[in-house]
């Protein structure tokens, strides 16, 4: 990585591996996630993408938008795909190439969970980046396991029956930590320096690495396109999406530096428009509980 990362005014590497002219929606968080991940990993990288927003963002054949090879893979097979790519690179003697699975939350939390878990268990030297936009946004905003409590989607329509999603968000990074994956982290697009630093730490580990990147989606979360980064920041500051890093058996949690309430976070997005006071309080309670669990685990693993 270049030494200019911390130089002002460029706080992230200048080299680009994603080109303009792609077909992502206005203010797309997932494209920012890809841009930062490739800045951190550099030229010697291969990305494997299942059915997801990122499968359509490069545009129709024969267009490409990345300056590194991108392999399309079936929805459930990202874990298997990166396993095979890694093996092929190792046979060719290209151990220095980064193999990256780049899947959405549907392709990770629901459909691709078995192949992800298998690849992580077999211990291949791969990255798995889950860009989490909290639903099947590419196909028209359907609910996924990673959609948070209270959100309206097209498969959890609110109407008179208040049929919003009543289940809690399944956090895949927590699952990966429980499985004993050597490197697990969460990050978001509002803090690219943090994301790039985390990938730098992950790179030092020979083995499976899992990073969950919250990528706000104006189209599916129903907020104005200019708010993507702001909402992403609020998700961290409200505790809705805590940032942490887990390696060497130790958990390090980033505490919110300028905390905001859950009420502030949900009122900025129309997918939570219907929530009443009691629903917001319920959400706040689960967020507080999760933060407490994480901080307890941090204390437990710090060896103090």
């Amino acid at each position: 990585m270049s030494g200019e990362v911390h130089d002002m005014p460029f706080s992230i590497p200048r080299e680009e591996f994603m080109e303009p002219g792609h077909t992502a929606c206005h203010g797309c968080g997932a494209t920012l996630a890809m841009r930062y991940v490739l800045k951190a990993l550099g030229k010697n990288t291969v990305v494997s993408v299942p059915a997801s927003c990122w499968a359509v963002i490069p545009g129709a054949m024969p267009n490409r938008t990345l300056d590194v090879p991108m392999v399309y893979t079936p929805f459930a097979a990202t874990g298997a795909s990166i396993t095979g790519l890694r093996a092929a690179f190792d046979i060719l003697g290209k151990e220095d190439y980064n193999v990256v699975g780049f899947a959405g939350d549907g392709g990770t939390a629901d459909i691709g969970l078995q192949s992800l878990s298998g690849a992580m268990e077999r211990g291949h030297n791969v990255f798995y980046i889950m860009y989490d936009n909290e639903g099947y946004m590419n196909t028209g905003v359907q609910r996924s396991g990673s959609t948070p409590y209270g959100a309206e989607t097209t498969t959890t329509p609110v109407r008179a029956e208040k049929n919003f999603k009543h289940q809690q968000k399944k956090v895949v990074a927590d699952l990966m930590m429980a499985q004993g994956v050597p490197y697990v982290a969460t990050a978001t697009v509002a803090y690219p320096e943090d994301l790039i630093r985390k990938i730098g730490n992950a790179k030092k580990i020979v083995g499976p690495k899992f990073i969950q990147v919250l990528s706000p989606c104006p189209t599916g979360w129903y907020f104005p396109t200019e708010k993507t980064v702001e909402i992403s920041r609020m998700a961290v500051q409200s505790g809705m999406f805590p940032l942490y890093e887990y390696y060497d058996g130790k958990l390090r949690v980033t505490k919110p530096s300028r905390p905001v309430s859950i009420r502030e976070y949900v009122s900025a997005q129309d997918r939570f428009l219907h929530l009443e006071d009691e629903d917001i309080e319920r959400l706040q309670a689960t967020v507080d509980q999760r933060m407490k669990t994480l901080l307890d685990k941090e204390r437990e693993t710090s060896g103090a």
Partner: protein, 99 residues
Amino acid sequence: MMRIPIADVSSRANHTDSWRILRPDIDYSRCIRCMICWKFCPDNAINVSESSEIKSPNERVARLEAPVIDMDYCKGCGICANECPEKCIEMSYESRGGN
């Protein structure tokens, strides 16, 4: 030899300026060149220019590289204007001829 489909035309061939409803304009006389707009552009439509002809608030800033928005690709999402700490990017309705 088996032929496999490889997409190798850069998406730069695909201009996305027609997507734009709101157009960002940087007031360079207030821009401090922090590059936060460049950092958060999801369309990668902000380039870095070394041109010394661009206006600047003072001589120290004039020596720094400046962000220049590429209007062939900007979709007008407005993240740059929202994140700009100096609030020197203004979004206004795009006007193209013919209406």
